[in-house]
């Protein structure tokens, strides 16, 4: 191992992968800019800390919602564009429940079930939060998960199953139809206004070098729920036969069926796990950011796609890791570019990843 060998290897890398090299240079420049900014006091440590925390939270939501998308993508072989509207549907069902439990007796049932459509009830006025109304929040969380499971199973039964054997593009186009039908049905029922859903949660300020990073109770709830569910999915896929069957199906469906794996039952399990996680993610997303609108899921969907592709389609860890990277990118990018382009930056990272490593970071590890 001489210097010459290292040199020639480096040179080969530079010739073979100019894109990756360019990317590395850009990355080093950005980090260098950040470090000089921190050293010169141009950028405050606490600001960066707040952005990192914000990005982590966003990443947890994206990762949690991404697991379901990643699983259906690898096992059913299509990009489900209705996934974003499953998120919204879960959020509306869960928040309807939370409003009902938190506000029973203080407002009429209809307005509560419609999550205060048309400004009839306000979540802040009901004092909704994990500390203020813990029972309502936990019940809403469960309802969101269960409702989304039922919804995704119903959609699968009546819409996706009859055309299961078609190619991925046919299913993709169909899922776009599902997405629009669901989204505008929700707008029809719940209205188009973005409503505030929570009261101000209690928060702690952590001292960080030159300022404070605020962490509130909803952030911590998100960490607990998302972390717990991710661990649960990990154990489920690693320790049970279902996980093995799913990996087999993702690899080769015909072979899996021949060896006696009940593929339709596995598909149903995929929708149950994925749908449940998606609904919970939708509910937690709204709890964390404190507002709810009928477009939320759709706007999140492209970031989720970015995360899933970044992590490698079919990989659960990839979805989580990709979610964190995309969340951090969307949050931290405002250090260097105007905040209007934060979401554009996340898409841009996805496009770069598609160029440099189209199979994703955790490629070839389907559903494990």
């Amino acid at each position: 191992m001489g210097i010459a060998e290292t040199y020639s290897r480096g040179r080969r890398f530079a010739v073979d992968r100019p894109g990756a090299l360019l990317l590395a240079v850009v990355g080093v420049l950005l980090v260098g800019d950040l470090l000089t900014g921190l050293a010169s006091g141009r950028t405050a440590f606490s600001d960066v800390g707040s952005l990192v925390w914000d990005g982590l939270m966003r990443g947890l939501v994206i990762g949690l919602a991404g697991i379901g998308l990643s699983m259906t993508y690898s096992i059913l072989n299509f990009a489900n564009f209705a996934h974003g509207d499953y998120i919204t549907a879960g959020a509306f069902s869960g928040w309807g429940t939370t409003y009902l439990l938190a506000g029973l007796g203080r407002a009429d049932v209809g307005s509560l079930l419609l999550v205060g459509a048309g400004g009839s009830v306000f979540g802040g006025a009901l004092g909704i939060g994990i500390t203020g109304t813990p029972v309502a929040v936990v019940a809403g969380l469960l309802v969101a998960g269960v409702f989304t499971i039922v919804l995704s199973l119903a959609v699968d039964r009546f819409i996706f199953r009859p055309i299961r054997d078609e190619d991925g593009i046919t299913l993709l186009i169909t899922s776009i139809g599902v997405a629009f039908a669901l989204r505008y049905m929700m707008q029809f029922v719940f209205g188009s206004d973005v409503r505030g859903t929570t009261a101000q949660p209690p928060a702690v300020s952590l001292y960080f070098v030159d300022g404070a990073v605020r962490i509130n109770m909803h952030d911590l709830t998100l960490v607990v729920v998302a972390g717990g569910l991710m661990l649960g999915v990990h154990l489920l896929l690693q320790r049970t036969k279902l996980g093995k069957a799913m990996r087999a199906m993702a690899d080769n469906e015909d072979l899996a069926r021949i060896t006696g794996i009940p593929t339709e039952r596995v598909v149903r399990s995929v929708w149950i796990i994925g749908g449940g996680l998606t609904g919970v993610a939708g509910y937690m997303f709204v709890l964390w950011k404190g507002t709810l609108g009928f477009n939320d899921g759709w706007l999140l969907l492209l970031l989720i796609f970015a995360a899933v592709i970044l992590g490698g389609i079919g990989s659960v860890y990839g979805a989580i890791a990709g979610g964190l990277v995309i969340g951090l990118t969307a949050s931290l990018s405002v250090i260097w570019i105007p905040s209007a382009f934060a979401r554009a930056a996340a898409f841009f990272v996805m496009i770069i990843i598609l160029l440099v490593k189209p199979s994703g970071l955790f490629s070839g590890r389907s559903t494990a």
Binding site: L114, I159, A181, I309, A340, A344, I351, L354, P358
Partner: protein
């Protein structure tokens, strides 16, 4: 031989005859509905003008998408981004120079409209190149995600304050940000006629039209003439794409659609072909965006949401990917039935029940139904929110089509690959097929079983 094909062959005038027949049916339906409601002549003419406008716009967009998806197999779901680039760049070039005190916050470069249109098309094609270079190497579903992400990036960019106002060549220009951009260039129709020195003749024609519509005939005539101009553009698109499809270039595109590896192994640089096809389609989408929005007076970035892309895709799928005639028909049927139809229906209800008072949200609409079985408020609310429900309807139509008729009305029709007719005029069945054996073409559905078997033998 299926009924569909039989109809196509028997129709006098062939494809053009079919298109005209469908258009006549749609117009007659609209006019009859108007007559039934006692619309004035002015109202009828306006209805016809608006209908023509949307038929033209969707037919153009469906034709451009057909080049991408129907011919080359490129899954582009970022159409609206190319339209936005087209109209915004066109506005930047053609808006008059900035003058303080005017209504517009920013000016343009003050160049003629034709220059602006060309600039808009070039910009859309260049954006297509930027998207295509990385994305064409990817799988179809990745291209889909990249293109839709691109269209959202375009929308965010126009929304951002950074591009609201800037200086270009020493001029104060910009895209207006979230509050929109006023399109204060010369009326395109006026510019069009002035180019040929016909503006005064046109004004004379408008005056003569006053015999039919006595008061203020100009807006009515403008609408009708602009609709006609759009239909001329549709014809031009059709001709261009037909020529492209029948050229050696187009044959390679179809080969790529069917099997890219085969085309590659025959020595065709498929990436080159795909990029050219993609750029051409993007330029055409940019032009369609310009023609759609340049008479609207102002544009805001949030007009360019992905739902317009979704509209165009439904139009293409209704008509049938792979067929230019189908694209035009799909655009016309979509515009008349799914896009304008529900809105027209709302107008009909408004006219029939002039005094109805729709509830403001779903709660008050449902409450009377539950408490004393009074469905009227829910009905009024439904009619009032028809613009949302028509998207639900479109989604369901799309699902239905993908289940039952994924090839649309005229999709994957047999197209002769050779430049000269291969059969004697009396037997017209032996034309070569662009799709036999392909994944999409060989699908043995019940309706198509007989035809597919005949085709394969």
């Amino acid at each position: 031989m299926s009924v569909r094909e039989d109809l196509g062959n028997r129709m006098p005038g062939g494809d053009a005859g079919l298109i005209v027949a469908v258009l006549v049916v749609l117009y007659v339906a609209y006019v009859l509905a108007g007559v039934g409601l006692g619309y004035s002549l002015r109202g009828q003419l306006n209805t016809v003008a608006v209908l023509t406008f949307y038929i033209g716009a969707f037919a153009m967009l469906a034709l451009a998408l057909n080049l991408h998806w129907g011919y080359t197999g490129l899954f582009n779901i970022g159409i609206v981004g190319f339209m936005a680039i087209g109209i915004y760049v066109m506005a930047l070039v053609s808006k008059p120079l900035y003058q303080s005190g005017g209504a517009a916050q920013v000016g343009g470069l003050g160049l003629p409209i034709v220059v602006g249109i060309v600039a808009g098309m070039v910009a859309a094609a260049l954006l297509g190149l930027v998207v295509a270079l990385p994305a064409l190497r990817l799988r179809a579903d990745y291209l889909a995600i990249v293109t839709i992400a691109m269209s959202e990036i375009v929308r965010f960019s126009f929304l951002s304050g950074e591009f609201q106002r800037f200086t270009l060549f020493g001029r104060r220009v910009g895209f207006g940000g979230g509050s929109g951009l006023i399109l204060d260039f010369t009326d395109p129709l006026q510019a069009f006629f002035e180019t040929f020195g016909l503006w005064n003749a046109y004004l004379g024609f408008v005056d003569a039209f006053g015999a039919i519509v006595p008061t203020n005939p100009k807006p009515v005539v403008d609408g009708l003439v602009y609709g006609l101009v759009l239909l001329l553009f549709v014809a031009a698109y059709y001709w261009l794409l037909k020529r492209t499809g029948e050229s050696p270039f187009g044959r390679v595109l179809k080969a790529i659609r069917e099997d890219e590896d085969v085309a590659n192994s025959l020595g065709k640089d498929t990436n080159q072909f795909k990029i050219k096809s993609f750029m051409l389609g993007c330029a055409l989408m940019g032009l369609a965006g310009i023609l759609w929005f340049m008479t609207q007076g102002a544009v805001t970035p949030n007009t360019f949401r992905p739902r317009i892309t979704f509209f165009v895709w439904i139009a293409l799928i209704i008509g049938g990917a792979g067929s230019n005639t189908g694209s035009v028909l799909g655009g016309a049927v979509f515009a008349a039935v799914l896009y304008q139809g529900p809105r027209y229906f709302k107008n009909l209800v408004d006219a029939a029940l002039p005094s109805f008072n729709a509830p403001s949200s779903f709660g008050p609409a449902v409450a009377p139904l539950l408490s004393n079985l009074n469905p009227a408020p829910l009905f009024y609310y439904t009619v009032d929110s028809i613009r949302q429900l028509q998207l639900v309807l479109m989604g369901l139509v799309l699902i239905w089509l993908m289940h039952n008729r994924p090839e649309g009305m005229l999709g994957h029709r047999k197209e002769t690959a050779a430049g000269i007719p291969l059969t004697s005029p009396r037997t017209r069945t032996a034309a070569t097929d662009g799709s036999t054996g392909g994944d999409e073409g060989g699908r043995p559905t019940d309706a198509e079983g007989g035809e597919g078997g005949e085709r394969d033998e």
